[in-house]
């Protein structure tokens, strides 16, 4: 390996000599020919070259959100059953969806051998809620009750039609895994607030569905690995082996860590590998978390009426309700990005019972989280996002039977909602057609949503990039527009 290192230095020496031989001459030449007064060198995005691949060191402009809680509803919650009231679907139950509505839209392989696409009446009734009389489903009484605090976007569209790529697309801005997720970008760009906890924490709820979710969704991609989402387990202990084993003193641990750190630093002086730095900082973080995490996960000091808000499951580790109260406790501790995943929204068949189960597991706790943050004065600078990776079709997948029908994946439109963090409360944005199939007004693409999220955190998504393998990467890749109408 030493040879490699020597080669590297020699190469740079050679380059310098060659550069200066030609270089000094060409500098002189330039000033003689000098038609162009020297201007600071710009890269593609107008960022000075020395700031490439450096954390931002502060937001680009005044942020309205300091932290994000992303309640990811994995599987594709049906917009027709929850947020997007379509009276036409009740009338036209059993009739074919007009060909003009489907148009050239992509449909998934699961319905490609289907010759008939009968519309299915939504498996829930709607009622008006809030000061604006927003139609909300009877399945989500909790979320409906706080509709005046929510910013509902009914016109989100994505490019992907299958779970894995769609989840990865929503979380990282690219359909293939390998790019950093939103939380990693923010952890990297803005850094940590609480020195005793990671800045990006992930919690998966169990008991929803058996659809797996890949940890590429909270990957650090090409960013230094300590920006990866730290997954809290859904068992009794959110982090295993957190307690110091019997007979080991905490100071022994400290000494051991310091000793290892010295070794690592020696190596680092030699190799300058950022992953060694990640290793050092993560060992340190683990040590700090030994003290910090037990106090977070201990719900015994929560008053009963607060626990009741989140619902009966709140004390069972791993449930969505439990993760929600954990999310609030982590937000109180200024964890930058808290990502929850709830599986169990993928209702290809028996949608009516499936969606009842999923809403029962998530509705009350989601609403409680928003209210709990609000009463603590945290909702002003915490952005809560609730949404999945795509929507569902208004026509039935398979045969249409009264109870047994299902809906297939639909990337053309779906609904998400946000609360706090500087979004307009009480707003319903975007419109879909009578069949909840196409967006007819104010489309919000996933990249637009990501750009808006970054904007709320004070970041210009076009100037937040990382250069790797010869190109610059952004969360929004080469697109995305901030939707200013969503911002208060």
């Amino acid at each position: 390996m030493n040879e490699l290192l020597r080669l590297k230095y020699e190469k740079s020496r050679r380059e310098f000599l060659r550069g200066s031989a030609l270089g000094l001459g060409s500098i002189a030449m330039n000033s003689l020919l000098g038609c162009n007064p020297s201007i600071t060198k710009h890269t593609n995005a107008g960022i000075p070259a020395d700031e490439i691949n450096q954390p931002l060191g502060g937001p680009h402009f005044l942020p309205t959100a300091k932290r994000v809680i992303y309640l990811f509803q994995s599987g594709g919650p049906s917009q027709m059953e929850l947020f997007d009231y379509k009276p036409k679907l009740y009338e036209m139950h059993g009739k074919e969806i007009p060909a003009s509505v489907i148009g050239q839209n992509r449909i998934s392989g699961m319905v490609s051998n289907q010759y008939s696409f009968p519309l299915a009446r939504p498996a829930a009734n709607f009622k008006q809620f809030g000061t604006n009389g927003t139609y909300m489903s009877e399945l989500i009484p909790g979320i409906s009750s706080i509709v005046d605090d929510l910013c509902i976007v009914r016109s989100v569209t994505t490019d992907q039609i299958n779970h894995e790529p769609a989840v990865i697309f929503t979380q990282t801005g690219n359909q293939l895994s390998g790019r950093p997720s939103i939380g990693s970008w923010l952890s990297y760009g803005l850094g940590s607030l609480n020195e005793n906890l990671p800045s990006f924490i992930v919690m998966l709820s169990k008991g929803g569905g058996d659809q797996p979710i890949s940890n590429a969704a909270w990957s650090n991609g090409f960013l230094p690995s300590h920006h990866q989402g730290v997954q809290f387990l859904s068992g009794k202990d959110p982090i295993l082996f957190l307690n110091t084993p019997d007979g080991v003193d905490r100071m022994d641990r400290r000494r051991a860590l310091d000793f290892i750190k010295n070794f690592n630093q020696l190596q680092n002086e030699k190799w300058h590998d950022p992953e060694i730095e990640s290793q050092i900082s993560q060992a340190e973080m683990a040590y700090k978390m030994q003290l910090a995490v037990p106090t977070i996960s201990d719900l015994s000091n929560e008053p009963q009426h607060i626990l009741d808000m989140y619902g009966p499951d709140v004390k069972i580790p791993g449930t969505f309700a439990h993760n929600c109260i954990m999310a609030r406790r982590l937000a109180e501790k200024d964890v930058r990005f808290i990502q929850l995943y709830h599986m169990g929204w993928d209702h290809h068949g028996s949608l009516a019972s499936g969606i009842r189960k999923a809403t029962k597991q998530t509705d009350q706790a989601s609403a409680a989280l928003v209210q709990d943050l609000k009463q603590r004065g945290l909702l002003d600078d915490t952005l809560v996002v609730w949404g999945g990776e795509f929507g569902r079709t208004s026509f039935s997948q398979g045969k249409l039977t009264p109870e047994g029908f299902g809906r297939d994946h639909h990337p053309g439109c779906y609904t998400i909602w946000m609360a706090g963090g500087g979004v307009k409360p009480g707003l319903v944005y975007g419109e879909t057609d009578d069949f909840a199939h196409n967006v007819v007004k104010d489309r919000v693409h996933v990249h637009d949503f990501q750009a808006t999220l970054l904007y709320l955190m004070g970041i210009d998504h076009e100037k937040f990039l990382y250069k790797k393998e010869g190109r610059r990467y952004r969360l929004t890749d080469v697109s995305g527009n901030v939707i200013h109408n969503l911002i208060a």
Partner: protein
């Protein structure tokens, strides 16, 4: 190609005769004594000057074929330069063979003075060609940005008599050209013989053919050049300049695809979502701002005490003097510790002191933090006594007294300015009755009492 390249030697060599001629001038007229024997030096200097002058004039002539220069100034520069060549050559002949010319030699000093002034003017016009006409103008000395002074060519479009606002060209396309292209493609500085300041000139193009082919992106040199590799020397704008953003490129794309018309009005064309978003983005969006008077930027001393406190001190915006200070990592913070922050008191706009050991005594010290907009005292020992200090914070917008013992009397003694927005008072001594009374005083302030 080769000829133009030779032309590039013009600026390399042109400074030689200037220096030498000036030297000759000084030796001839300003060094008083003839004893040193400068005469031979002047003679040689004149010879070299004449030779290099002719050489650089030749190179200059080759360079002029690139057509990148303002024809008017170029003509003056050329004529003066030729005159200068002739004068200097005669000077040398008069100096070298005075015996052949008799009385004519008496004109030698006058001719020398003439040459000197010719040299000044030739040089000046040369400079104007490369650096722009106002490079040496006095007004330039008082302005900061070179780019701004160079925009008088912008007015030329109105000479077309057709400048209609709200056409796609005028409101969307032209601003991009003005910002990113016209610095080098205008009547004064015609790089590649290409000017853009009017629509007609833009469509006409320069040496490289048609820059814009309506409905034909593939054949449009303009698009081709922008999309070349960054390191390609034909890439536009050149490396050191700011490139077009993808939104700008998309816009021009779309404009060309729709006929690249000058007259089409914005409301008449079919706008797709991408363009709509770009147009919307163009509407001036005010970034959220703090609306505070500027303050001095003091970096807080990294004192040992401050480090041990683990206070989180971060700029609100990158590079801004205004700070957010949070005690999230400093639960041990007490009244005395606040004094460590006095240096940065007026820079602090968000102060989060939740769950600390702070009491009324410390909160009274907050008087110094006159620019505070957000103050959070959640779960501290604040009581009604703190309110008088809080009332002095005239910029306050957000106050969090959740979990303190402040009660109705305290709430009612809070004086809210116009900008005051929110008070969070869950789990404090405040009751709904107190809030009702407060609401009558300040109907616009949101008081959050928590869940019922």
């Amino acid at each position: 190609m080769m000829i133009e390249f030779l032309g590039h030697f013009h600026p390399v060599i042109v400074h030689l005769p200037i220096g030498i001629l000036v030297l000759a001038f000084i030796l001839e007229f300003l060094i008083p004594s003839k004893k040193i024997g400068t005469s031979i030096v002047v003679e040689i200097a004149l010879l070299i000057a004449a030779f290099t002058l002719i050489l650089s004039a030749l190179f200059g002539w080759l360079l002029s074929f690139t057509g990148e220069y303002n024809a008017d100034i170029l003509y003056k520069h050329k004529m003066l330069a030729i005159l200068l060549c002739i004068c200097t050559s005669i000077l040398w002949i008069l100096k070298k063979f005075p015996e052949h010319f008799g009385k004519i030699t008496k004109g030698y000093p006058a001719l020398f003075y003439c040459s000197f002034f010719l040299l000044l003017f030739t040089g000046h016009f040369g400079g104007s060609l490369t650096h722009g006409e106002d490079f040496l103008s006095l007004s330039n000395a008082f302005k900061n940005s070179k780019i701004q002074t160079n925009t008088n060519y912008l007015e030329e479009d109105s000479k077309d008599g057709l400048a209609v606002k709200n056409t796609v060209y005028d409101s969307l396309v032209r601003p991009i050209l003005v910002e990113k292209c016209m610095q080098c493609h205008n009547s004064k500085k015609q790089k590649g013989g290409f000017q853009m300041q009017t629509y007609v000139l833009l469509m006409k193009g320069g040496k490289s053919g048609h820059p814009i082919v309506p409905n034909g992106i593939v054949n449009s040199e303009f698009i081709h050049r922008i999309q070349l590799d960054n390191n390609d020397e034909k890439h536009m704008p050149p490396k050191a300049k700011e490139p077009l953003t993808s939104a700008e490129l998309n816009l021009i794309y779309w404009w060309i695809n729709n006929g690249a018309s000058k007259e089409k009005l914005l409301q008449d064309v079919k706008i797709n979502d991408t363009i709509k978003a770009i147009v919307k983005g163009k509407e001036k969006i005010e970034l959220p701002s703090l609306n505070l008077q500027p303050v001095n930027h003091i970096t807080i001393q990294d004192s040992l005490a401050l480090t041990q406190l683990h206070l989180l001190i971060t700029p609100i915006i990158k590079g801004s003097p205004f700070l957010e200070i949070s005690a999230i990592n400093a639960p041990g913070l007490n009244d005395a510790d606040l004094e460590l922050l006095f240096n940065a008191a007026s820079q602090t706009v968000w102060l989060i002191l939740d769950e600390t050991k702070l009491t009324d005594l410390g909160i009274k010290k907050l008087l110094k933090f006159n620019n505070l907009k957000r103050l959070s005292l959640k779960n501290t020992k604040a009581t009604n006594q703190s309110i008088s200090a809080i009332n002095q914070l005239t910029h306050l917008e957000y106050l969090n007294i959740v979990g303190t013992s402040i009660n109705d009397a305290g709430l009612l003694s809070i004086k809210c300015n116009k900008q005051f927005k929110k008070i969070y008072c869950w789990r404090s001594g405040i009751t709904e009755k107190g809030i009702e009374k407060f609401k009558q005083l300040y109907p616009n302030v949101v008081v959050d009492f928590g869940m019922k």
